[in-house]
């Protein structure tokens, strides 16, 4: 198992060296971007290297439609670089909608909804699936094309290609770090620990050892243009983990809808027309009794009773068995039940907000007080 140690090399130099290595060993290099700070830094590094070598680099962006306008503008800026090969994909696929239980999935770029799309598709973008539909595959357990399903199908369109991803694994998530480093890929006689194999292609993470501040320092030092939404979120006092630019209706991001009318009033106006549940999410996204699920509604005596009620009345009968099956493996206590309520309220059948299945910490505190008082 690889361990972390200081090498004396700074992370920017290391990332440049890694990107040079990628260009040395792959003819085709594609960078996945989201418009966020990490991919902004990564694509800047890759484009700099490509220009120095007189090459071009594919810039892949999977457009989720329900996004900040600032993100769209940021991606447009990146794609405008002469060394960037535009791969902006705008096709229908399913997104989790955490703001509504009756419309738990949004099919972005749905042709029948063209009139209320957040914005028209760009003339230079890819508006159709670049893969053969008869060979299209869904992810295991899914009956439809979701975000990661699209990425997998897209990647299969290429061979012997390096996909650069701005994933960071330093400090924030030991699990992510293990996932990145556990299966090294042999390339050019070397075991590459910052890569994972994906069929005939390789996903590579040149900035995997950067932390939050390394990214911002790089952006500052190199005067890289970035999404202006970060400035608004910073001024508003968002915690680092809350500063996100991705889909506005995702389980982890929907809280940003609360501030959307202030940040981007036009985007909010369009989102109201496009997606169900937005007005409720805007008003109650941070409410302790609703989506934040911190306070028990007063007509329930326990989180367990509330959870049972939510299970009984959950409007999405198709996904109900997923929740029931998952909850059957959990401990039966108030601490776990509160988290289960949150998953139900957010319709998080994909388990993106995993449940901490442990003993209720309140019980330990009560035992302590019983002993000492």
């Amino acid at each position: 198992m690889p361990t972390k140690r200081y090498t004396g090399e700074d992370v920017v130099t290391a990332a440049r060296r890694r990107i040079g290595f990628v260009f040395d060993h792959f003819e085709q290099v594609i960078v996945s971007v989201s418009g966020g700070k990490d991919s902004t830094a990564l694509v800047h590094l890759a484009l700099t290297e490509a220009r120095a070598r007189g090459r071009r680099v594919g810039v892949f962006f999977l457009d989720e439609e329900v996004m900040y306008q600032s993100t769209v503008e940021q991606v447009e800026r990146i794609m405008g670089d002469a060394a960037a090969k535009r791969m902006w994909l705008q096709i229908p696929f399913h997104l989790t909608n955490a703001t509504s239980t009756t419309e738990g999935q949004l099919r972005c770029w749905e042709p029948s909804q063209r009139k209320i799309w957040m914005r028209p598709k760009g003339p230079k973008n890819m508006k159709h699936k670049p893969w053969d539909e008869s060979a299209e595959r869904f992810r295991s357990g899914y009956k439809w094309l979701d975000f990661y399903g699209v990425i997998e199908n897209f990647e299969r369109c290429f061979e012997n290609t390096a996909f650069l991803v701005g994933l960071r694994a330093a400090g924030e998530s030991p699990n992510r770090w293990r996932a990145v480093t556990k299966n090294p890929v042999p390339i050019g006689g070397k075991n590459v620990y910052w890569a994972t194999r994906k069929g005939s292609n390789v996903a590579m993470y040149p900035i995997y050892d950067w932390d939050f501040h390394d990214v911002w320092k790089y952006i500052h030092d190199h005067e890289v243009p970035y999404s202006r939404i970060y400035d608004m979120q910073f001024r508003k006092g968002y915690a680092m983990s809350e500063m996100r630019v991705s889909s506005l209706i995702h389980e982890r991001a929907f809280k940003s809808i609360c501030d959307l009318p202030e940040f981007e009033p036009r985007t909010y106006q369009r989102l109201l027309r496009r997606v169900k549940g937005i007005a409720l999410a805007q008003e109650t996204g941070k409410s302790a009794k609703l989506f934040a699920c911190r306070k028990l509604p007063k007509n329930f005596k326990s989180w367990i009773a509330y959870r049972d009620f939510l299970l009984k009345t959950h409007p999405d009968r198709e996904r109900l068995p997923i929740f029931k099956k998952r909850f059957a493996r959990h401990l039966e206590n108030e601490y776990v039940a509160r988290q289960q309520c949150r998953q139900l309220l957010l319709n998080d059948y994909e388990n993106n907000l995993p449940i901490d299945n442990t003993e209720d910490p309140r019980e330990a505190l009560v035992r302590y007080y019983d002993e000492v008082l």
Partner: protein
């Protein structure tokens, strides 16, 4: 600059001296309600700490705070969460000026890490992700007037019947805890022992208690705005920050604490004695 343990007069003098030395065009003072009225010899616009996060104040401050602005942050260490929204907002204005004075009576709420919140204010968040290191001492304009807290016990006896009632009360609280916050167990038992201690109140002394339930003229609560006498502690408050504010308002450092032989009083007394030790440790660390 950071000034610890200053009284109102010393704070006013420090501000006047600072303004005389630098070309200050405007002075803002940010403080919790009970520390807003600290008298100053210069013109000061006073802002309540809780209003800082409101748009009408925050965006105005972002526009108005400039290189000629002095921001006084007075007794604002109220939460231990370093990324608290109010702290974030204050640090944002402070990025726009080099003139700030941080006044705080005690340097911590609970641990030395809390002091870094004041350091963040004073250093434009330079050491935002770091814990205290002795090396920071040389970088800070820090004056420390120590407030060594000393607690002594004034022991009163509870009767066997009180002990019996206490046990019953404790059992009732634990069995009926349900979804309520477990901290209500020591809190409510503390209130229970108050009924025992009330019998031993000295009419000539002044006391501070958690609330005014006993309706006695010589008993004030931690939430009062002024404390003109010297006070004994009738009962401790559960949160250290409330006691720290009481210490700042009274400028008192030695406290006689009324306790019974019921276990919750011992628990609270030991908890505060340990807190006073952590405070002493913090002073030691700051002196380097």
């Amino acid at each position: 600059m950071i000034r610890l343990g200053f009284n109102d007069r010393e704070k006013a003098q420090a501000v006047s001296a600072y303004c005389a030395k630098h070309s200050i065009e405007k002075v803002f003072l940010i403080a919790p309600p009970r520390f807003m009225d600290v008298p100053m010899d210069v013109d000061v616009e006073r802002l309540e700490l809780s209003s800082i996060i409101e748009y009408r104040i925050f965006y105005r401050m972002m526009q108005e705070v400039g290189p000629g602005t002095l921001v006084i942050v007075n007794e604002c260490l109220r939460k231990q969460y370093r990324s608290d929204l109010a702290y974030n907002c204050i640090r944002n204005f402070l990025l726009q000026t080099e003139h700030q004075i941080i006044f705080q009576h005690l340097p911590i709420v609970d641990s030395l890490d809390d002091f870094m919140i004041l350091v963040d204010f004073d250093t434009r968040s330079r050491w935002r992700l770091h814990r205290w290191e002795p090396g920071f001492r040389g970088e800070l304009d820090l004056v420390v007037k120590e407030v060594p807290l000393v607690f002594s016990e004034h022991r009163v006896e509870a009767s066997p019947k009180d002990h019996e009632r206490y046990s019953k009360e404790k059992r009732k609280l634990i069995d009926g805890i349900g979804l309520r916050d477990p901290h209500i167990i020591p809190r409510n038992l503390g209130l229970f022992t108050g009924t025992v201690k009330a019998r031993h109140i000295d009419q000539g002394a002044h006391y501070v208690a958690r609330n005014g339930r006993l309706r006695l003229p010589n008993l004030q609560t931690y939430r009062d705005t002024s404390f003109p006498h010297e006070y004994d502690v009738f009962e401790f408050c559960h949160n250290f920050v409330d006691f720290a504010e009481f210490v700042a308002l009274t400028q008192q450092s030695r406290f006689r604490v009324m306790t019974t032989d019921l276990k919750v009083d011992r628990w609270y007394f030991d908890r505060y004695a340990a807190w006073a030790e952590r405070l002493a440790g913090a002073y030691e660390a700051l002196h380097g």
